[in-house]
Symmetry: C2
Subunit: 529 residues, 2 copies
Amino acid sequence: MITGKNYIGNKLSAKGNSIYKTFNPQLNIENEQAFTEASSEEIDAAVTLASEAFKSFQNISGIKKSEFLNAIADEILALDNTLIKTYCLESGLPEGRAKGERGRTIGQLRMFADLVKEGSWVEATIDTAEPNREPQPKPDLRKMMVPLGPVAVFGASNFPLAYSTAGGDTASALASGCPVIVKSHPMHSGTGELVASAVIKAAQKTNMPNGVFSNLNGINIDVGAQLVKHSGVKAVGFTGSIKGGRALYDMAAKRDEPIPVFAEMGSVNPVVILPESLKEKGESLAKTYAGSITLGTGQFCTNPGLILGLKSDAFSSFIDRLSDEIIKIEPTCMLHPNIKGAYDTNKEKAMQQSAITVVADYEDEVQTNFARQTVTTVEGAIFLKNTTLHQEVFGPYSIVVLCEDAAQLEKIISNLEGQLTGTIIAESSEANKYPKIISALQNRVGRLIFNGVPTGVEVCTSMTHGGPYPASTDSRFTAVGIHSIKRWVRPMSYQDWPNDLLPEALKDENPLGVFRVVNNCDTKNSIHK
Amino acid sequence: MITGKNYIGNKLSAKGNSIYKTFNPQLNIENEQAFTEASSEEIDAAVTLASEAFKSFQNISGIKKSEFLNAIADEILALDNTLIKTYCLESGLPEGRAKGERGRTIGQLRMFADLVKEGSWVEATIDTAEPNREPQPKPDLRKMMVPLGPVAVFGASNFPLAYSTAGGDTASALASGCPVIVKSHPMHSGTGELVASAVIKAAQKTNMPNGVFSNLNGINIDVGAQLVKHSGVKAVGFTGSIKGGRALYDMAAKRDEPIPVFAEMGSVNPVVILPESLKEKGESLAKTYAGSITLGTGQFCTNPGLILGLKSDAFSSFIDRLSDEIIKIEPTCMLHPNIKGAYDTNKEKAMQQSAITVVADYEDEVQTNFARQTVTTVEGAIFLKNTTLHQEVFGPYSIVVLCEDAAQLEKIISNLEGQLTGTIIAESSEANKYPKIISALQNRVGRLIFNGVPTGVEVCTSMTHGGPYPASTDSRFTAVGIHSIKRWVRPMSYQDWPNDLLPEALKDENPLGVFRVVNNCDTKNSIHK
């Protein structure tokens, strides 16, 4: 069923010369299937098809788009165990996780299907004319969101389904009316091809234009680079490392026509533990955080890599408890030897900085690609000065910073780079005593959490998955939830436009029955002239 | 009243060594007042003050911000004739225009005052918890828009009030809760200082933190460059040339922490005349367009610089009529000798391209900085091949393209760069015969106009002033209307956050009475738990 080929629109194609294989990290062997990298001509063909498809796809009704998105979900489910097995072989992740992630992926597709079927997401606004206004007549103006054009999507290594081929970026871009060209993640190109086949089947069953979706294999930077630099590509979605995301951002910014890049990148997700909370929940907290740090072998973008607290006996015993708890946990497999290698290297680098104390380090023998969890501590003053310690160590590693006082804690937070999340652990009566700390943390993050863990990104309207750079390349958008569609659309105004030529959402009679802002009032009413 | 100094927060300061003067283009002489460029230390001080001010200003209530914005409007009005006179001396524009633009500026400030007083603009959304959900409990999530931080604003040469010191960028940024540092336009630094003094007075009267606004003089690129590269600046607003906007965009993209730049830049604003319309309204159209091309000496971003039509006798006689009409118009003064110089050079360059026919060229003697209006024509095939002809000639110049057929017309439109506006002149029964032309035009512009002129940008919710690059650096935003505030804000989520620590807009009881989306339904109701 997996061919190792690219989907150039609806057609399987393998004209390139470069071949690669995915890897089974559990068994520490290459998987059998070989994948052919997309050639320069194939990349160009995919973009040309997408640009052509955009001409009709941008105007397709919300109902048709919802059928397409639901059909993708159906076809992914129809892949059944083939998909789950391939996912596990290529990621080393367990079956339960595969099924959970599939559920999330399906859920996202259906969420966007509902959104575009209902239709109000286009934010239609209408200001009716005032022909007799002095000194000049006021024209009739109507505005709605329209899609940007073909979007290049780069999936995440750590979420082979929910943030990949038909993940949040693809689902939101297709929902907006943008064709999608996926650069398949080379660590799970088999999973990617299977999901791509589901998207193509769905596109054909629901009569979408050829080119609305393509899937390109690529293990080197070249495929992605050619895609991002192609004049037919109008936006980029990426989930992954700071290095990768920044490289794409830089390429896009240097184009003759710069295009928006939404890259969701690294984060250490600071957790601030306020002192009183330790009295009540120190023990359960240690258990919870040992679990959060090691969840998915620490390979979540929201992994808590930095714990900040005020020096005290209570904080010291929390660290002891956290160490005890985390050591008990059985190490698990990382996604790929390269990721395991980077984890070891980065952890080693962090641990070798001066004045670092290792308080927990799993020492028993583990299988080749399994990650040993580690917790270290450092004094606040040292942490402040050494920005190497601020960097993400992707994997089950966390550094605990012992702050002298609230002022130093605030200073440390203010000096952090942008983060996806920030967590406050506190008694409810306690938090309002630290307004500066909370305010500093808010200015560094996309999401604030109270008495919880940062791992776990709920898919709902009120979620922000993003944040100040380098958590993302543009903090004004979210990668998760219905509002992630805003990354791919722009406002378009029609002035004195004839009613029969207006898009449905802007016509006088409101045939779609969507919510609109008419002369600054929310309404579903039609316009009477 | 004008000192020639910078406002570093509330304080006048002139520590720099570089001095410059503004110019009276009508009299072709320098104005008397000398302005001192901001020094490197002053720029740094302004940003540091802004960052400090942001700590409190970001949390100031909508009511307080509305008082501030209304006070700015009041203080600008209080400048009375001093402002109008200075405006005219520095721009060569007539008093009527000065007063009109002041009205627009005041109107924008009051519009944003109303917006933030009402409060729903923060787009509050709430998804309440489901503690018993399986397999995992659903947390309580609440999201709203929060300001990015200090914004650097570069005003336009052609709108010394409405798109400058306290123009749309400044008004929207202050409304969002972002402090503003203006890089004063060197052609109207006196007007700029007067308006800045009004903003500072208003800030002091309404108890805004020092540093919420600064005004920096600068004639060289250095002042702006230092500002855009400063780590304390979090976003940039610009109105002006492609060259200037792109330079700032490039600087911002190369920062360690890239920041968003909204630059509204050049546009030729294509006007497509469909054949049947010429029968009915050819004559009045010629008159209207002669007026639109020369309005404000052609110095509007929405000036119609490109007219496209199908070759026919009717189109030829339209061109004749347009020539007759435009020649009748008395030339007017440009903003500055540099702008006049660029107009002459660029027009000359366009006219010297091969196969260009000049059909109207005002030839009588004019005053030094007055612009002679010119209309040229060219065959579609020539225009397609020569992209020099696609470039904006800033001033009262327009090129008319004679297209062979609808297919060529469509191709020309598709090959244009991004535009602020596109206009269709047609009989209402006629437009639906050219769906491809309309669709191609839509994909190139931010605003489509039917049977009107592109000049004149109505300030209302449904206006898009922006468009695909190079009309703007980010087509996902507008520079005009209440939604222009979206350029300066980002979504911020609160997970399981205690009610008493939440921002007012997200509290259970909805104390601000704003519209919110609660569990995906629009409501002003409070949350009952």
